[in-house]
Amino acid sequence: MNPAEEIKQLFPGSVVSTGIQTNKPMATIKKEDLLIIAEKVKEMGFDNLSLITGIDYRDRFEIIYNFFSYAKKQNLVLKVVLDHDKPEIDSLESHWKVADWLERETYDLVGIKFRGHPNLKRILLPDGWVGHPLRKDYDMSVDQFVTLGEDGEDIVSTDGSNLLRR
């Protein structure tokens, strides 16, 4: 049976719609019920969380979770829609360890906050970087430079005079 339909049967109230995303079953769910559904998804045997994607649609954010089950060889896509003003969602770190870094990366580049994440810091860009680059309104014209502090930590500033030669 199609796992997306299965989820819809189990949680009729929290699934907005189901469909197919290029031959992968997809379910769009409400953001409040993500944790409950994720638990169920894990029970259903989807032990591999392949990917977390955050997309900025200017008026809203979408988060897409791609799951895979080694036992059943099945795919499942979960999609959650978030407000543009306050993008926040529950963390899946406790269920899939890989979500730790994937969520940190999404936080870093797209700027979506994950509630309950134990270590929600920037991962690719240094701490103190202004803005989230993969948002559509990210200002590319401002050059930000990194210099080294006393203990070798990164200090971000728009002034590169310490670093640049001339």
């Binding site: 860009l125 240094p126 680059p133 990210y138 590319m140 930000q144 430079f145 990194v146 210099t147 080294l148 990164d154 670093l163 640049l164 030669r165 001339r166």
Partner: protein, 197 residues
């Protein structure tokens, strides 16, 4: 001949490049700057000894092991059996910058890496040289538009030789190394001494 089937390796392009490094420096009017710098340090006195030292320096350039990105793999390939940079006495890749003479900036210098590259350069003992390899290190290259990439490593440290390519093939590396040897033979010290400013 059909333009499609023309063998591109046969196309010869007339280079208007100066023949040697010395010509190049004369061209750009930099040689007086260099001589002034060397006179200040009093090094012009022992020119024969200087030449011997320069010969030694160009013969044993020990690079520091610092690969940054794609070009680092070609740096490894340059050191490996088919191209064998050891022929020039350069196979001793020192992991510690204190013992190295030459730094290959091999790959993209990101904003986050830039201060560390600079620090690495400052840790090296004089005399030292820098070769910037690949489009990323030369000008930012493919990532010129990116928010997190420095647009050329020569913005932070002086560069002696630029090797274009993305990544340059090992022969191009060795060609660049030969250019640097040429430069050392004529001028000794590296870019910090007033060349390429």
């Amino acid at each position: 001949m059909d333009p499609l089937t023309i063998d591109t390796t046969k196309i010869k392009i007339t280079k208007k490049k100066p023949v040697t490094a010395l010509d190049k420096l004369n061209d750009t009017g930099l040689i007086s700057t260099v001589l002034a710098a060397r006179e200040r340090e009093g090094l012009i006195l022992f020119s024969t000894i200087d030449q011997v030292f320069n010969w030694a320096r160009l013969s044993s350039l020990w690079p520091v092991t610092s690969g940054l990105a794609c070009c680092a793999i070609e740096m490894m390939a340059t050191a490996m059996a088919h191209h064998d940079v050891a022929r020039f006495g350069m196979e001793i890749f020192r992991a510690s910058p204190r013992q190295a003479d030459l730094m290959f900036v091999a790959g993209t210098v990101t904003k986050r890496m830039a201060p560390r590259v600079k620090q690495l350069y400052e840790m090296m003992a004089e005399p030292k040289w820098v070769i910037s390899v690949g489009s990323c290190a030369n000008t930012g290259g493919p990532y010129h538009d990116s928010y997190s990439v420095l647009k050329g490593v020569d913005l932070i440290i002086p560069v002696d030789v630029y090797i274009p390519g993305c990544p340059p093939r090992p022969e191009a590396w060795i060609y660049g190394i030969i250019q640097l040897r040429e430069k050392i033979k004529n001028k000794g010290y590296g870019a910090k001494w007033g060349l390429n400013k």
